[in-house]
Amino acid sequence: MTDQQFAIDVADMTAVYHEQPVLWDVDLQVPAGVLMAIVGPNGAGKTTLIKCILGLIKPVAGQVLVQGKPYKDRRDRVAYVPQRGSVDWDFPTNVLDVVEMGRYGALGWWKRPGKRERDAAMHALEKVGMAEFAHRQISQLSGGQQQRVFLARALAQDADIYLMDEPFQGVDAVTERAIIDLLRELRAAGKTVVAVHHDLQTVPEYFDWVLLMNIRKIASGPVDEVFTEENLRLTYGGVVAFMQAPNGSTAAAVDTESVA
C-alpha cells in the first residue's frame, strides 16, 4: 500500500501546546472514503490533532501527509469546520457571506467573490436546509443553525476531505440527524469525513471508522473491530459503563464528569 491511498497519513507526530505535550507520537492512517469519529476524553488532544493536520499547529516531531502530499499542497482538497464557539457570532455579517467564505480559498488573494461564489454558497445552504436564512444576520441564529451554516461553508469548499471539530455540539436531535445524513451523503460521494464526536452511544450507528485517543493513539480502524470495551477502557480510564444496544451491538456511555 502506498501513501497515496490514505486520505490522511500522520506519522510519529508529537505536538506541544503552551509548552505542554498534548499528543505523543501519533500514527494514524485514514483511508479515503471513510466516515471517521475521533473520540476521547476532554483534553485528549482531539482538536490539536485536527489543527496539526491542517497545519494550524506545527508538530514538534513527525509529519502529516494529505493524499500523499504536505497539507499546503492539498489545501484546496480539505475543508475545515471549526468549533462553533471559536468565532464571534456578533460579527457584522450575514449567513450567505459566511458560507461564501468557503470559496475564498479557491479564489485566492485579492480576488473578490462574485456571482459564482454566491451561487455556490446558496447551493450549499440549500443542502443544509438553510436557504431561507441566507440574508439573516448571523447573531440571530440558534446553535443548531450556526452549526449548519458552518457545515454549508465546508460544503461550499467542495473538498475531498472534511475535518470537523464537534459538528454535533449543542444541536438538537433533529439537526443531529440532518447533519449525519449529510455526512453519509458525503461519504457516498467518495469523500472522507473526520469528526470529533462526544456521544459514544452513537459511534457505531453514525460512523464506520474510529480513532480512540487520549494524548496518544489508543486504536484506530473499522468501528466493529476497534470500538471495543477494552479500547474504551484504555481511552477513558475505566469509567465507561457498557450496555447492550437493542440492535445487539455494544454501546457505551461515559461519565465524562468523573473523567475530568
Binding site: 491542517l54 497545519g55 494550524l56 489545501r75 471549526p82 457584522p92 467564505m101 488573494w109 467573490p113 461553508r153
Partner: protein, 369 residues
C-alpha cells in the same frame, strides 16, 4: 469661515476618516486597547527617529514610530503567550514602559527642540494650518492635510484590496489559516496600518484623540448596522461629523480643538447608544415594554381558553377578580384586558371574557415549540 478654519476642519475630517478604517477592525477584533498602547508607545519611535535624522518633519519618523508600534504589539503578545500575564495587564505593562522611555529621552536630550509633551498628548491642530507644504515656492496647502490625506488613501486602498482577507482573518482566523490566508500576516499588516495612521494623526491631534477617533466611531457604527461594509462607511461618517462639530464646539468655547473633538466623539457614541434604531437603549426599553404587553395578552388568551367551558369559567374568566386569579396588579390587568379586547383577542359579555378565534390561534401558536 477663514482659510485657516477650513484647513483645520479638513485635517480633522481626513484624520477622523483615516482612523475609523483600521479602528473598525480593532473594535471587531476586541483589540480597542491596543490602539491606546500603540498611540502612546510610538512616542519612543518618534524620539529615536528624531535623534537619528535630527528633524521633526522627516517621513522617516513615521517609519520609526510604526516600527515601535509593531514592537508594542509583539511585546504584548509575547507576554501573553508566556501564560503568566493576561492581555489587559500585558498592555498595561508594555506601553507605559515604552512611552516613559520616550518621555525620559525627550526631557533629557531634546529639552530645547520642538517636541513637547503637551503637543504629544493633545496635538496642535490649532497651528496645523501654518505648517505649509511648499514646492518651488508654490503653496500646496497645510502639510498635515497631505500627510493624513496620503494615509487615508492608503487605508482605503488596503481595505478595498484586502477586504475579503481582513474580514476572514477577523471573523475566523483558524479557517483563514487553513485556507492559506496567513492571518498572522494580515494581523501584523493591520497593526502596521494602525501604527502608521496613529503616527500621522499624532502630530495633528495627539495621542488621546487618536484613540477616541479610532475606537469611538466604529463602536457607534457597530450599533447601527449588521454589514461590515456599512460599518466602515458609517465609522468614517461618524468620525468626520464628530470632527467638524468638535471644531465648532472648541471655537464656541474657545477651548482645545483636540479636546472638543474627542468630547464630540463621546457624545456621538452616547447618542447612538441611546437612539440606535434596533440596538439602542431606548429601542430596547420600548421593545421590552411592548413584549411584556404582548406576552401578557397571550397569557390572558391562554387563561381564558383553558377555563372556557369548564365549571369555574364564570369565576375564572370574569373581568372582576381576574387580577386576583392571575396575581397581577389591578391596573395592569385592566390595561391588558382593554388591549386584548381592542386587538380582538378576547370579547366580553356580562363581565365574562371569551376568547376569539384570533385569540385562540395566538394562544395555540404560543404553546407549541
Amino acid at each position: 469661515m477663514s482659510d485657516a478654519q477650513l484647513d483645520i476642519q479638513m485635517i480633522a475630517v481626513v484624520t477622523a476618516a483615516a482612523c475609523a478604517i483600521p479602528g473598525t477592525f480593532l473594535v471587531l477584533r476586541r483589540m480597542a486597547m491596543m490602539s491606546d498602547a500603540i498611540s502612546h508607545s510610538i512616542l519612543l519611535g518618534i524620539v529615536i527617529g528624531f535623534f537619528i535624522v535630527e528633524s521633526t518633519t522627516s517621513p522617516v519618523l513615521i517609519l520609526f514610530a510604526a516600527a515601535v508600534g509593531l514592537l508594542t504589539v509583539m511585546m504584548v503578545e509575547w507576554l501573553q503567550r508566556t501564560g503568566l500575564v493576561r492581555e489587559d495587564a500585558a498592555i498595561g505593562i508594555v506601553f507605559p514602559l515604552l512611552f516613559s522611555i520616550g518621555v525620559i529621552l525627550i526631557s533629557r536630550f531634546a529639552g530645547n527642540v520642538h517636541l513637547d509633551l503637551d503637543a504629544v498628548l493633545l496635538g496642535e491642530l490649532a497651528f496645523a494650518s501654518f505648517d505649509r507644504f511648499q514646492v518651488n515656492g508654490w503653496d500646496l496647502g497645510p502639510k498635515g492635510l497631505w500627510v493624513m490625506g496620503t494615509i487615508l488613501l492608503l487605508n482605503v486602498a488596503l481595505v478595498i484590496v484586502f477586504f475579503k482577507e481582513l474580514k476572514l482573518a477577523t471573523f475566523d482566523p483558524a479557517l483563514a489559516a487553513s485556507l492559506g490566508f496567513m492571518p498572522g500576516l494580515v494581523h501584523y499588516g493591520l497593526m502596521s496600518m494602525v501604527s502608521v495612521t496613529t503616527v500621522g494623526a499624532f502630530d495633528a491631534v495627539g495621542s488621546i484623540l487618536v484613540v477616541a477617533l479610532m475606537i469611538g466611531p466604529p463602536a457607534a457604527a457597530y450599533l447601527l448596522t449588521d454589514d461590515l461594509r456599512k460599518m466602515l462607511v458609517l465609522s468614517v461618517a461618524i468620525g468626520a461629523i464628530s470632527a467638524v462639530l468638535g471644531y465648532w464646539m472648541a471655537h464656541w468655547l474657545d477651548a482645545s480643538i483636540a479636546g472638543a473633538m474627542a468630547t464630540m466623539v463621546g457624545i456621538s457614541f452616547l447618542t447612538v447608544l441611546l437612539f440606535a434604531p434596533a440596538r439602542g437603549l431606548v429601542a430596547q426599553v420600548l421593545r421590552h415594554k411592548r413584549q411584556k404587553l404582548d406576552f401578557a395578552q397571550t397569557m390572558l388568551a391562554i387563561h381564558v381558553m383553558n377555563h372556557e367551558g369548564t365549571a369555574e369559567m364564570r369565576v375564572e374568566n370574569r373581568v372582576d377578580g381576574l387580577d386576583e386569579h392571575l396575581h397581577w396588579d389591578t391596573q395592569f390587568t385592566a390595561q391588558i384586558v382593554d388591549l386584548a379586547r381592542r386587538h380582538g383577542i378576547v370579547t366580553e359579555s356580562n363581565g365574562v371574557l371569551t376568547v376569539t378565534d384570533n385569540g385562540r390561534q395566538r394562544a395555540q401558536a404560543a404553546m407549541v415549540r
